[in-house]
Subunit: 191 residues, 2 copies
DNA sequence: GATAAAAACAAACAAGCGCTTGTTTTTGAG
DNA sequence: CTCAAAAACAAGCGCTTGTTTGTTTTTATC
């Protein structure tokens, strides 16, 4: 016999949903197992520890964000184009997996030891990719002579806050939101 | 004899610090009492429940943000001036009480029942104050014909993400950050 | 220095926590 | 139908959780 490959994914998805709703520390192993329709002990045929679940969810989230941004930064487009596509890519990752994105942004600090460090490093890498886009735009004269750090913080604030309000299936489509955000960032509010 | 008025405040400050560091569910009553230098049971001479602590911290946070923004919205200044002062006021609240702001933004969802609703309403009120500034600027023609909702989300993203990176005493002064953020928002990145 | 409020201790409570163990049931390929 | 792997159960481990209770110590005031 073979293990149903889907079972573990199912558990991850359920844990992801609960972590995003009630937080990691606010979710118990019994919450997860109950939502799976099994007893709490039975979960441990599929996982080693509760923190494994959190790590796997956040790590996949980190990889999704990194993997979507890397090709854009490496492309030969202009900084404005890269910025636009970066925001779009970021929104698409959130759209495709809002719950995992929420856990990634909101719960990753509950990780301990080496796993905390691993995710922290991936977050840093992600920020550096954004920094590269802004540095390029500032250096080439395409953007104003902005303080790169503050410009990056502004863009990242917009990107990183998205999980708090964006709801797939709502009126606002991810691509449209991204386009308008980038437009506002590029040309400003002032008439 | 009279109760030392400072004792309860001390406990609140310690709980605030721990909640901001480890989260509400990640902090135990024994963590708090130990940091206070007393036994866990002794805490209950000063508080009724653990959630009381969270509520008092988040409610004070909400009031601080609301109280700082209200007079600005009501003032007779231009929308741009209001926007500038609003961002400054927001940053000042965070600067003056980073830990409480962190708990307010990050842990308020751990509240239950009526208290959850109370804080949610205050958060809504706060967003509506920001909306008023943007609506005014758009209506008067001072700002471009922006989608008000998306413009508000952009500004709120920048404001609400601040607690994640701003550190009082660092190189960046709150007023300076606010000025540069507003400048970028008003006139955009494009050269 | 007596007094009473305030603050702390000492000890424990019921409930819930993450997780382990040994056993039984379900499953699907041969 | 057989049989072994996989998945679930049943029971409970040691520990921690938020909180309560009754008692003692500290504190400021008269």
């Amino acid at each position: 016999m073979m293990a149903r490959v889907g079972r573990r994914e199912e558990i991850l998805a359920i844990a992801c949903r609960l972590f995003s709703q009630k937080g990691y520390h606010g979710t118990t192993i019994r919450d997860i197992s109950e939502a799976c329709g099994i007893l709490s002990g039975s979960l441990y045929a599929h996982i080693n520890t509760k923190e494994d679940l959190l790590f796997e969810i956040t790590d996949r989230g980190a990889e999704a964000f990194l993997g979507s941004l890397e090709p854009i930064v490496k492309s030969g487009k202009t900084a404005s184009q890269k910025l636009r596509e970066a925001v779009k890519a970021h929104m698409h990752v959130i759209e495709a997996n809002l719950e995992a994105a929420t856990v990634f942004f909101h719960e990753w600090k509950a990780l301990t030891g080496d796993r905390y460090e691993q995710i922290r490093k991936k977050r840093d890498s992600y920020e550096r990719l954004w920094a590269a886009i802004l540095e390029e735009g500032i250096k080439s004269g395409e953007f104003k002579q902005l303080d790169e750090k503050l410009a990056r913080l502004l863009v990242l604030s917009v990107a990183n806050w998205t999980y708090q309000w964006y709801r797939p299936g709502g009126k606002l489509k991810a691509d449209e939101v991204a386009d308008r955000f980038v437009e506002m960032i590029l040309i400003g509010f002032q008439a």
